[in-house]
Amino acid sequence: MDRTIHVHHLSMTYRVPVRQEGLGAALRSLIHRSYRELAAVDAVSFDLFAGEIVGFIGPNGAGKTTTLKMLSGILHPTGGDADILGFQPWKRQPAFLRRIAIIRGSQPIGGPVELTVMDSLRLQQLIYDVDDRAFKRNLGQLNAMLDLRTLLDRQIRALSLGERMRCGLALNLIYRPEVLFLDEPTIGMDASVVETTRQFIAAYCQETAATVLLTSHYMADVERLCRRVILMDKGTVRYDGDLRTLSERLSPYKILRVSLVGAKALDLSSFGEVDEAENGTYDIRVGRRDVPSVTARLLADFPVTDLAVLEPPLDRVIDRAYRTGVA
């Protein structure tokens, strides 16, 4: 696979003004201001390859968005280096900017909201020098994937959040960027729009071999789209690797979901910690090594109508990683 993104010891330190409380300190700060250095991103390194969708996760303030802004050229880092498609992002060369896109769920459309969606797409065509043939072909594909037909003649300001996201994706992908930075792409959306968006991102990457760095607080986004995750915390990379491995490392247990005949409450605590019990269905937390033996005992001792072995919910795994760190 071709390496499209190379990040080496990338750092961003902000200088923030600080002062003590009270009027005296406020007056003193007029003459002598004090500052504190705040490391938002601290020597972050990773590589991304063509066609990869990588989850870039971490708690609020971990440095995810700052990193995305540096990699898209909006922010100039205070240290380290990055190479994306052979360019240094913060030089913001037109040849680089034509090949990347940054899409923020909070602001999926950056242009004027008074224009219609089609006017905005035409504007993008001109800004990014997309020839007519490619424009029609790309629009046709985006239309098929995002169902834009009823939106093209509407003003952007009159669109709902979900519709804006669909249009934001179309506007940013009409010129077929090779690298996508997606910052919370499903924030605030209802379930059906979320699923459409996820399906679209997966389909786009499969078709174009685009590289995607995705930040999201919705672990379902990450679980659905990413095999690899980079876990950030306090400005540093705490984990970079396979999502399943992370899950196994942080959760040395699985969930046995077992349904028994009859709704009578049973004490199954001898098999493991019972997480949930409802209408004859129990979620039992069992150590990974013990799963075969516990399963066998359950099947032998009880009239089991259904049994499934599940990975623990990713939300819990990641929450644990945020709270206790990755060992």
Binding site: W90, L97, I100, E114, I127, Y128
Partner: protein, 256 residues
């Protein structure tokens, strides 16, 4: 260069379309800019009824005002405050092209809405217009547009450092009104102040083209006026480039 001009044209077209939905607001905005010159016209015509070139001066001043006033404290400072300037930074061209396009669209709207007001005033006042003077004033009008654009841009770019850019631009507009020949024609300033005002950027941005069009200046004064316009254009060009680069560096250092 061709691509940049094309992009400016595209942005002008887009902004023109976008502002079509703000027709009512635009009418009040343009009429608001007409008030001062029209008031000056009424007051000075009544005060000095024999000075016919004063009426011509204020009608010309109205045209200059409509052609040179820019709302950059809104169209540029607001995206800086909102952080949406970052959307422009990731486009494959200089963000200033969008600003220039917006200003051209703004000009077009000001001409469309302001032209009937100017026409009505010319019709009602029946002022003498000397074609040679008007032609002589046209380059001064073009230079005034550029100088005032750069001046307003430099003030609006203070939005990179302060939340008070609107106030700073308004202060600049007040100085332009007082010293640029709108409150009182510069010819009527007392002598030491008059020569200061004539060499100031405010005259170069507003009063000079109107004074030339009304035939109020002799040849030497016209030449000197053009020379001052050239000087201020160079000064503000340098200032604006420095402020812009420094501002973008700051924006990309703190993330908007």
């Amino acid at each position: 260069m061709t691509r940049s001009l094309r992009l400016i044209g595209i942005y002008a077209h887009r902004t023109f379309l976008e502002w079509m939905t703000w027709r009512g607001f635009l009418v009040t905005l343009v009429l608001g800019q007409c008030v001062t010159p029209v008031l000056g016209f009424a007051v000075w015509s009544a005060a000095l009824p024999d000075a016919s070139n004063l009426s011509t001066y204020y009608i010309s001043l109205l045209v200059v005002q409509l052609m040179t006033v820019f709302q950059l404290d809104h169209t540029l400072a607001n995206p800086i405050y909102r952080g949406t300037l970052s959307h422009q930074l990731v486009r494959p061209h200089s963000p200033i092209l969008g600003t220039l396009g917006t200003c051209f669209a703004e000009r077009l709207w000001f001409v469309i809405i302001g032209a009937p007001v100017v026409g009505l005033l010319v019709f009602l006042s029946n002022v003498p217009l000397v074609v040679a003077n008007v032609l002589l004033a046209l380059p001064a009008l073009a230079l005034a547009m550029v100088v005032r654009f750069l001046f307003t841009l430099a003030l609006a770019l203070t939005a990179f450092w302060t939340q008070q850019a609107h106030g700073i631009v308004a202060f600049g507009a007040t100085l332009t009104f007082l010293i640029g020949g709108s409150a009182v024609p510069i010819l009527y300033f007392p002598d030491p102040l008059r020569s200061v005002a004539e060499s100031s950027p405010f005259s170069a941005m507003l009063g000079l083209p109107a004074a030339i069009a009304s035939g109020s200046l002799n040849r030497d004064q016209v030449v000197m006026g053009y020379a001052w316009q050239a000087v201020w254009l160079a000064v503000f060009l340098i200032v604006t480039v420095v402020v812009w680069r420094s501002g973008v560096r700051r924006f990309t250092a703190v993330g908007g």
